[in-house]
């Protein structure tokens, strides 16, 4: 099977459309009859990464690739970037502003959720250079991940 790639633009601070890219990814993966547990994990990660881009990111893009053995979700943004990735990965750590917190974001759970539910998470970022989060989900993992 040839791989399929879909891209969705993300707009900074656009809380009105936030989540739509992930909803479309989920709908597509359902039509491909992927395992429901796998789709659930992808939805969690995709949504968290999408919201990170909307809350912190500047504009960006969500890219989903469905290949024979894996699904890759990559979210790239042109935002402020992350100075200390290790610190950002700590549960509870957040730099979200008051508006985002009032909406129930900014609990410092996004990146930890992504790490828990993806088979692999790569984060590349630097201050002023934006952020790229790449998550890999294996379609037939040797051991099903059940966090």
């Amino acid at each position: 099977m040839a791989s399929v790639t879909k891209r969705f633009p993300l707009r900074a601070r656009d809380f009105l459309h936030a989540g739509e890219a992930s909803i479309q990814v989920q709908a597509f993966l359902k039509t491909m009859r992927l395992d429901p547990g796998l789709i659930r994990r992808i939805a969690i990660c995709s949504y968290e990464a999408e919201m990170n881009a909307v809350i912190h990111g500047g504009n960006g893009e969500l890219e989903m690739t469905l290949a024979e053995d894996r699904i890759v979700i990559e979210v790239r943004d042109e935002g402020a970037g992350i100075a200390d990735i290790e610190l950002a990965m700590q549960p509870g750590y957040s730099t979200a502003d008051e508006t985002a917190r009032e909406m129930g974001f900014g609990a410092g759970m996004g990146l930890p959720n992504m790490k828990t539910h993806a088979d692999e998470l790569e984060l590349a970022s630097a201050p002023g250079r934006g952020t790229r989060a790449r998550m890999i989900f294996r379609r037939r993992p040797p051991q099903e991940k059940t966090p």
């Binding site: 989540g19 992930s22 909803i23 429901p36 939805a43 129930g104 974001f105 828990t116």
Partner: protein, 116 residues
Amino acid sequence: MNVAELSTRMGWKAVAGARGLEREVRGGYCGDLLSDVMAKAPAGCLWLTVQGHLNIIAVALLREMAAVVVTSGREPDPDTARKAEEEGIPLFTSSETAFTLAGRLWELGIGRTEPA
């Protein structure tokens, strides 16, 4: 029990999403932090939250929830109701708190017989 029957028994005010009223309720979840709800809410659940903004519908869709109840007398934003209607996600309001509602739902057997 489906959403229609449950919402009638609970006396909730229907706001939008009548198209989804036949859905079966399989469990429940209380939460106002969206990342927590995303990670933990069971599929087919009823979600009790004080959040009324549009993003709750995205979360409800992604978690494949049966319905959403905005609690504690809060009102969902007009955009939220519009989106719920569009997507067929039943959206209700209740003046009671999530704690009280969860207790009543538990007594009706919600979340007890079905696996979370």
